[in-house]
Symmetry: none
Subunit: 218 residues, 2 copies
DNA sequence: CGGAGCGCTGTGAGCGTGCTGAGAACATCC
DNA sequence: GGATGTTCTCAGCACGCTCACAGCGCTCCG
C-alpha cells in the first residue's frame, strides 16, 4: 500500500511517515499544495493524507480538483480548525474522512485502514446521468447546465434513481426507499411522481420497463 | 434513501428521525440491539446509524454479525465513550464511520452523505451465452452488441434459460419457474413464448430437444 | 411410405399495467 | 384570509402483453 502525505509542518510530516512506514506502508511526503496535487495525480497512490492548511493550495481545492479530474483515491483530511462546518465542508467537497488536530495516531491508523478496506470511492460527489447532474450536498439538479427546480419528493425520487442509474428499480423498491415505510400510500404515487419528473427533466431519460419498474439512463 | 437508526435514548432517536426526514430520507428507528439487527437484515436499508451502547446487544456485535452474514450496508457508529481505542475498535470491527457523543447534527449529516456517496453496491455479473448477454440489474438483453427489447414474460423465460445454459430444461420446469406455479396455464404457452424469443434473439441459439425440452447454447 | 404425435405459429379476445388530468387535503407565505 | 405550492387519491383511458385456440408442418416410428 502506497500512501501520500501532504503536510507542511515538517515535524508532523516526518512523524507520520515514520509511523506509517513502521506499519508496512510505503509513504511519500509533499510539503506544499501544488506539489501534493501533482504527486497525487501521477503517483499511483492507494490513499492520501491531506492537510487543509497548505502553502500554495488549500486541501479543499486539491480534493475538488482531483475529483473533477476523476481521481478517486481515498482522502483523509487533517485540519487544525475544529469548527463543525469545516468538517462538513471537507466531506462535502469530496474527502472521505476527516480528522481534527490534535489527533491520536491510533485513530489515524484505524481510519486509514478503514479507508483502504473500502477501496477507492466509485462515485463522484456530484451524481451524473446523461446530461443530468445532481449535487447531493447542494440539493441541486441541473439538466444540460440549466438548473431545474424540484420539490422534496421529486428530488428524493431522482436521487434514488440516479444512485441506481442504469438499473431497473421496481415501484415497490421506490415506495420503500423514497416514501416512508409503514405509510400505506397507493402505489400509484410512484407513477404520478415519475410523470412530474419526466416533465421537468425530460422524457427520454427515465424509461418505463413494463412489468418491472423504471430505469434512468446509465 | 432509506435509513435505519438504532438508538435506545428515545429523545435522541426522535430528534435524529425528524431531522433526517426533513432532509428527505425515509427513516425507521429501532430501540434495542436485537430489533436493530433484525431490521438491518431484512429492511433493505441504504445505511444505518448505530449506537454502541444498546440494551440486549452492543453496536459492535451488531456490525460484526451483519458483516459475517455478508450484509455490507454502510454503518455510522455513535458512542458516548470517547477513548480513542473505542473508536479504533469500532472501525476495525466493520463500521464505516464513527462519531462520539455529543456530536453536531451538521457533521452527522455530512458524514452520512459521504457514506452514501461511497456506497457502491456491486452489481451481479452479466450472464452471457453465445453472442447473447443479459444484465439482470439493468434488465437488458443484447445480441451481438445490439439491444433487444423483450416483454416481461419473454425476459423471465430467457433469464431462466440463460441461468441453465447448456442444460436441457423441460417444459414443466419452465412452467413452474417462469409462470406462476399452480396456475393452470395451457402447456402450450411455453411453445408460444419460445417462438417469440427465437424471433427476437435468433433461431439457432435456442434448440428444441424433442420429447425433453429446450436447450440454450452454452 | 404413411400415420401419429409433437411442436410451431397466426389470430384475436381480454384485461393488466401505466399515464394523465382533476381535485381534495394540508402547509406556507404574504 | 386568500394565494400559492406540495402531496396524494381517484377515475378514465389506451396500449400492448398474455394466453387460448386451432390448424399446419415436421419428425420419428413401424
Amino acid at each position: 500500500m502506497r500512501l501520500l502525505v501532504v503536510e507542511d509542518e515538517t515535524r508532523l510530516a516526518l512523524a507520520l511517515q515514520r509511523g506509517l512506514q513502521a506499519e508496512g506502508f510505503a509513504v511519500d511526503v509533499a510539503g506544499t499544495g501544488p506539489a501534493g496535487l501533482e504527486m497525487a495525480r501521477h503517483g499511483g497512490y492507494d490513499a492520501m493524507i491531506l492537510d487543509v492548511m497548505l502553502p500554495g493550495l488549500s486541501g479543499y481545492r486539491i480534493v475538488r480538483q482531483l475529483r473533477t479530474e476523476e481521481h478517486w483515491l481515498p482522502v483523509l483530511m487533517l485540519s487544525a480548525k475544529d469548527g463543525e462546518y469545516d468538517q462538513a465542508d471537507g466531506l462535502d467537497c469530496g474527502a472521505d474522512d476527516y480528522l481534527t488536530k490534535p489527533f491520536s495516531y491510533v485513530v489515524l491508523l484505524a481510519r486509514m485502514r478503514a479507508l483502504l478496506r473500502r477501496g477507492a470511492p466509485q462515485r463522484p460527489a456530484v451524481l451524473t446521468a446523461g446530461d443530468l447532474s445532481l449535487d447531493p450536498a447542494g440539493r441541486r439538479v441541473s439538466r444540460a447546465g440549466v438548473e431545474v427546480s424540484l420539490t422534496a419528493r421529486e428530488y428524493a425520487l431522482l436521487e434514488y434513481l440516479m444512485r441506481h442509474a442504469g438499473e431497473v428499480v421496481s415501484k415497490t423498491e421506490l415506495l420503500d426507499h423514497v416514501w416512508d415505510a409503514g405509510m400505506d400510500t397507493a402505489p400509484n404515487v410512484v407513477e404520478v411522481y415519475v410523470g412530474y419528473l419526466r416533465r421537468k427533466i425530460g422524457r427520454e431519460l427515465l424509461e418505463t420497463v413494463r412489468g418491472a419498474g423504471y430505469r434512468l439512463a446509465g
